[in-house]
């Protein structure tokens, strides 16, 4: 059985849904970052696969961009997280509501 | 200098207002009078230099602002806008000269000078975006005047005033953008110049939609029934100077815009909506006159009378013939002078007694005879007695509309009856009878500061009633060109019929076979 585009896309979708559920359910900020990474990588797989199948390199280029952005996002995010942890001693999402409108 | 007189007229007060921040508080009043005086003289010079025989735009100025979208700094005046500009500068001068406000007078004068800039800007602008900018800017100083110097409910009143008119203007802005887009579609170029727009003949269904969009913005400003309720609050809470400027000038923006935009841009839609608008105006005239009759506060009487008179102006505008439109433009000036004066007069008694309830007064005629006399003259002008300024406008407006509909004019003509009813009964309550209230026994008659404002207004009210020609003639010439433009552009049979053709003007074309 050859591996077709569909397989890749199904994999990407499954990963994406896992990531999404993680984003919605997790209260721990660190876990939230993991979930976001899963989301991004799901799209990366989809991009790379589609790019390969239609023979257009733009998709893979996008994937690289996303990897770069994800890396910097995690770097800044973890930095903020550490600062936050030092200040409050917690990384619970529900505690962060100073933006209440 | 004559080439840039309009720019000068617009930005001189703003510049002077900026400089005003460094003037000391004691000399601020003199400074304000000087600036407003110079501005008024400049506007008089504009009149002097204006050629009444030319019907088109004069003193045109143009500078590109956003060339990519055809937005230009385009100015010009014709007979229709010339006198409203003069009225604006005149009232700013009168307002500052007869200012009795004690609180933060420096800020007030600076605000007034900014307001003057926006007013002149609105009437001189020939580019829709520039027009819109000044139109909206004019809200800010007025919001500030009501909100900072107003009565107890000032915040509610000013917010209502602002939001209400602002909502209307946003719809108008959408209309303007669409109009420009339509122009782009038709010609391949962007333009916001009103004069360019005049040349465009729009399909009738487009006209209807655009007309409604513009109408909403203008109608709230006028204010037309049922969008009028912000006005009594604004007048009720505004300080005297605010009411004067609001009634005399700001309301005229709406009616002026009808003549400047709605009529020439949408001739077919104007004819299509003529009757509904006439009915609204009649409701305005009669209904608000009745509401005015029921008021207990003399300032509210004047406020509602203002709405009632605006109804006549709208009616004259939608007569769509030279008599009616000239009359309505003239009535804008007349109403400005008379209602402005009436608000000043109400302010006089408010300064003395800090109440505006008519039941508090009575018998003022014997305590303050000069005040009663000037109030009487202005009241009679408001009622529309011949040889006062209002009569010319009202007579021509009604005369014009009579051509369009006999029955509606007959109904609208009740304005002269209901107007007399509320005005006379208010006058009777305040001025006639015996002085019953002890506090009124020792009231002082008009002082010099007040007379400085009121006497010129009285003179104008009678002078232009007896001899309206110097004003009416330029108005007439410009209105004729507007009507001719409308006739040429009109597409529907009915519009061609309703809007007279002046091209073969020989005095007989209005002879109409009666049906």
């Amino acid at each position: 059985m050859a591996i077709t585009l569909t397989h890749y896309l199904v994999l990407a979708s499954v990963l994406f849904v896992i990531g999404l559920i993680g984003v919605m359910r997790r209260k721990n900020l660190l876990m939230l970052f993991f979930a976001t990474e899963i989301l991004l990588n799901a799209t990366n797989i989809a991009f790379a696969a589609i790019s390969h199948y239609i023979g257009d390199l733009s998709g893979q280029m996008f994937a690289f961009f996303i990897i770069a952005i994800a890396a910097s996002e995690v770097a800044i995010g973890l930095g903020l997280l550490i600062v936050w942890y030092k200040r409050t001693g917690k990384i619970d999402l529900d505690q962060m509501n100073s933006m209440r409108g | 200098m004559i080439d840039h007189i309009l720019t000068l007229l617009i930005f001189f007060p703003a510049l002077a207002a900026m400089l005003g921040f460094v003037v000391t508080k004691d000399s601020m009043r003199a400074y304000g009078i000087a600036v407003a005086g110079i501005e008024f003289l400049l506007s008089l010079w504009l009149w002097y230099a204006y050629d009444p025989m030319v019907s088109g735009m004069q003193f045109m100025e143009s500078a590109p602002l956003i060339p990519a979208f055809g937005v230009n700094y385009l100015l010009g005046v014709d007979g229709i806008s010339l006198f409203i500009i003069i009225l604006s500068t005149f009232f700013t001068l009168i307002g500052i000269a007869s200012l009795t406000e004690k609180r933060r007078i420096k800020d007030l004068i600076i605000t007034l000078l900014f307001l003057e800039m926006t007013m002149v800007g609105v009437f001189a602008a020939l580019d829709a975006i520039v027009f819109y900018v000044f139109w909206e800017l004019s809200l800010v100083p007025m919001l500030y005047i009501i909100g900072a110097w107003g009565g107890p409910l000032r915040i509610y009143a000013s917010v209502k005033f602002f939001l209400y008119t602002f909502t209307g203007s946003l719809v108008m802005l959408v209309g303007m953008l669409f109009m420009a887009y339509f122009y782009y579609q038709a010609t391949g170029q962007w333009s916001f110049s009103i004069l360019e727009w005049y040349r465009l003949i729009l399909p009738e269904n487009f006209q209807l939609w655009l007309f409604v969009a513009f109408f909403l913005g203008f109608a709230i400003k006028v204010p037309m029934f049922p969008f009028h309720t912000w006005l009594p609050y604004a007048h009720g809470q505004a300080p005297t100077i605010g009411s004067v400027i609001l009634a005399a000038i700001l309301l005229k923006m709406g009616t002026y815009a009808f003549v400047r935009f709605s009529l020439p841009l949408f001739p077919d839609a104007s004819v299509y909506f003529m009757m509904p608008i006439a009915i609204i105006s009649i409701i305005m005239i009669v209904y608000t006159a009745m509401v005015a009759y029921a008021q207990e506060d003399i300032k509210q009487v004047v406020a509602y009378s203002s709405i009632s008179h605006m109804g006549v102006i709208i009616l004259g505008t939608f007569a769509l013939n030279v008599e009616g439109v000239s009359g309505s433009v003239f009535l804008m000036l007349a109403h400005g002078v008379v209602s402005g004066a009436l608000f000043l007069l109400v302010g006089v008694i408010y300064d003395r007694r800090h109440t505006k309830l008519m039941s508090e007064f009575g018998g003022l005629a014997s305590v303050m005879p000069r005040y009663a006399a000037i109030f009487g003259i202005m009241m009679m002008a408001s009622v529309g007695l011949p040889l006062t300024i209002n009569f010319v406008g009202e007579f021509l407006s009604l005369l014009g509309f009579y051509k369009q509909s006999h029955m509606l004019t007959l109904t609208a003509g009740t304005a002269i009856i209901v107007g007399a009813i509320y005005m006379l009964s208010a006058y009777k309550k305040a001025f006639f009878g015996n002085v019953t209230n002890e506090e009124n026994k020792n009231l002082k008659d008009l002082n010099k500061t007040e007379l400085v404002g009121l006497i010129p207004l009285t003179i104008v009210a009678i002078w232009l009633g007896v001899y309206p020609k110097p004003v009416l003639e330029p108005i007439n010439n410009s209105v004729e060109s507007v009507i001719q433009l409308m006739h040429d552009k009109a597409q529907s049979e009915e519009a061609k019929l309703r809007i007279p053709d002046l091209s073969g003007k020989n005095g007989t074309n209005t002879m109409q076979e009666a049906n």
Binding site: - | L399, G400, L424, N476
Partner: protein, 628 residues
């Protein structure tokens, strides 16, 4: 001649402005004298113009443009022709007399100077009204006299009744003015001009329907000024003003403006005889209607006011039947004797310290000889006894009715003539004859100043001899008005009619004397007559003022209150506020979304993502479907 025209026109204005200058300062005699002098100048100029016009010329000037826009062109144009010069003479004579008289009458009044300012302003407006050469100019004067009438009725502004009457008069006149305005609009849009000469030349080319409407609307205007039914109530109430005002405005000049309008527009009314019949019928009705109310009234000035109303009815009968010159002639004669009557009543009022009830007077002829003679003669003239002025003018109107075969109108007018004689002499008898009932009230009457009586004397002379001008007058106005002679052809019928009328009138006079000359008590409402239905009906003026109050004034006030409190505040404004509140509430409710909790926010983000994805899919599918 133009100079005289301008002098005649503007001298009163100068007088008015001059007096107005002093209106703030205390009373000064010179103001009255200057104003009267200027009025006299105006009279002299009018007289010079009269001789000029009698020699067959007319003067027509155009002073300047008033309004000009579109095809409309209205100048300040003035014309002195055969009709306007007659009116000018009437106005200036009566007003000069009234001005001089007022110097005495208003002697003790604080508002002396102000009074002359208003009075002269009135004369100016009236001159504009009669001299104008177009309908718009007429309308200026028309509204001007209305304004001055307002100011003068409400002259004693501290009196509630006076200011009420002033407002009533102004508003009622305004109702009629709307009709007039519509008439003017109709003329303009159909003829294209408002100049008399153009309009009257072109009016025949219009469709009859249009002419009829023009006629009707102009007449509605006339009905207001001339207080014809149903707009008559203001005239009786207008008696609140000072008596000279009643003499000048509400007897001699302003109220006859309506008649003048119809006479002036004879070219229009000639074409619409049906409207003419209506005018005549209404006139006859008003003549009888007003006379009946005068029968029982106990207010001296109101009785004379009703008699004025009744005589205006006569004038409209003549005008409606096409006898314009007769109407104008009666207008002139009536102005003289009615002004005289009012001024006499003013003397009595002064003597009686503003008492108006004739039942409280009696026997005044002993102390007020001059006034007694004048009022009696004026009443004789009013009753139409030969050879006084009333005989020539009033009997002529009866003849017109007879000759034109309107026998109902004739009968009504004849009956009215009897009533007129009765109530006039009821008044004279009650005031001047019988017991001196005023003594009960502790009043010490005295005759008016000598110069006031002297000032009145020209009117007395004219009231006696005005009839003898009839032929001269006829020669003059026939240049402009239809020169129909109204003669009963059969000599026998003529003599029977004339002598019969005279006898009838004399009988009425004698009856009045018999009944009232020896009156001794002041009625207190207890007698059988006073309790009868008809008496009450007439006493309450047919309940018409009450009815107007109930039908118009009160509901209007109530409706206004509803419009404000219920509609404006509770519906219109509340709707606006409801919209604003709705938006505000929506914001308040959706505020929970922004609760600052990151996980909630993330959830909303996911919701947004899902919604957007669904939309994207839906649009793609839809687009493809349409594209295919």
């Amino acid at each position: 001649m133009e100079l005289y025209l301008y002098i005649a026109l503007f001298a009163p204005l100068v007088g008015s402005l001059y007096s107005a200058l002093f209106s703030g300062s205390p009373k000064s005699q010179q103001v009255g004298i200057v104003a009267s002098g200027l009025l006299f100048t105006s009279f002299l100029s009018s007289a010079i113009l009269l001789t000029y016009v009698m020699s067959g010329h007319t003067v027509h000037v155009e002073m300047m443009t008033w309004m000009a826009t579109g095809d409309l062109y209205i100048p300040f144009g003035f014309v002195v022709d055969q009709v306007s010069v007659v009116m000018m003479m009437v106005v200036t004579i009566v007003s000069t007399v009234v001005h001089v008289y007022s110097i005495g009458y208003m002697d003790h009044d604080k508002g002396f100077n102000r009074f002359f300012a208003w009075l002269s302003a009135f004369v100016f407006s009236m001159m504009v009204l009669v001299m104008s050469d177009n309908f718009a100019g007429l309308f200026i004067g028309w509204e001007g006299v209305g304004l001055c009438s307002w100011g003068l009725i409400g002259f004693w502004y501290h009196k509630e009744s006076a200011t009420w009457a002033a407002n009533e008069a102004f508003i009622m006149n305004r109702i009629a003015d709307l009709g007039m305005l519509i008439g003017i609009f109709l003329i303009y849009w159909n003829v294209g001009s408002l100049q008399y000469d153009v309009v009257f030349a072109e009016i025949g080319n219009l469709q009859p329907v249009i002419i009829t409407w023009i006629g009707i609307f102009l007449f509605i205007g006339a009905m207001g000024k001339s207080a014809q039914f149903p707009l008559h109530t203001w005239l009786a109430d207008a008696m609140e003003g000072p008596t000279p005002v009643s003499a000048l405005i509400h007897a001699a000049t302003m109220v006859t403006a309506g008649v003048y309008l119809v006479v002036r527009s004879n070219a229009i009314y000639d074409l619409i005889p049906n409207v003419g019949i209506f005018i005549a019928s209404l006139g006859a009705f008003v003549a009888l209607f007003a006379a009946s109310m005068a029968l029982v009234n106990r207010d001296m000035k109101r009785i004379i006011a009703y008699s004025t109303l009744s005589q205006l009815g006569y004038m409209f009968v003549a005008a409606g039947l096409g006898a314009y010159w007769v109407a104008l002639f009666h207008l002139m004669a009536h102005a003289f004797f009615k002004a005289l009557l009012f001024l006499g009543a003013g003397n009595v009022m002064h003597a009686m310290h503003d008492e108006l009830d004739p039942f409280k007077m009696g026997g005044l002829r002993k102390v007020m000889k001059g006034t007694f003679v004048m009022m009696t003669l004026a009443s004789v003239a009013l009753a139409g006894i030969y050879p006084f002025a009333g005989f020539f003018s009033k009997d002529l109107i009866l003849e017109v009715g007879f000759v034109e075969h309107h026998y109902v109108i004739y009968t009504v007018l004849l009956l009215t003539a009897g009533l007129t004689a009765f109530y006039s002499f009821r008044l004279v008898a009650l005031i001047f004859h019988g017991e001196e009932r005023y003594k009960l009230f502790g009043i010490h009457p005295h005759e008016a100043y000598k110069f006031m009586l002297v000032a009145m004397s020209p009117l007395l002379v004219l009231a006696i001899i005005a009839g003898s001008f009839k032929m001269t007058y006829f020669q003059l106005v026939m240049n402009l008005l239809p020169a129909t002679q109204y003669h009963v052809h059969d000599q026998t019928t003529y003599w029977i009619m004339t002598i019969g009328t005279q006898l009838f009138v004399i009988a009425a006079i004698l009856f009045a004397y018999k009944k009232y000359a020896n009156w001794s008590n002041v009625p207190d409402g207890s007698s059988a007559m006073e309790r009868s239905f008809f008496y009450k009906l007439l006493w309450n003026q047919y309940y018409i003022p009450k009815m107007y109050e109930e039908i118009f004034a009160k509901p209007y006030a109530e409706l206004s209150r509803i419009a404000w409190k219920q509609i404006d505040l509770k519906i219109v404004d509340a709707t606006v506020d409801a919209i604003a509140n709705g938006i505000y509430k929506t914001g308040e409710n959706t505020r929970d979304i922004q609760n600052g909790n990151l996980s909630t926010m993330l959830r909303w983000m996911v919701v947004g993502l899902v919604v957007l994805s669904i939309l994207a899919v839906a649009f793609t599918v839809g687009y493809n479907a349409v594209g295919a």
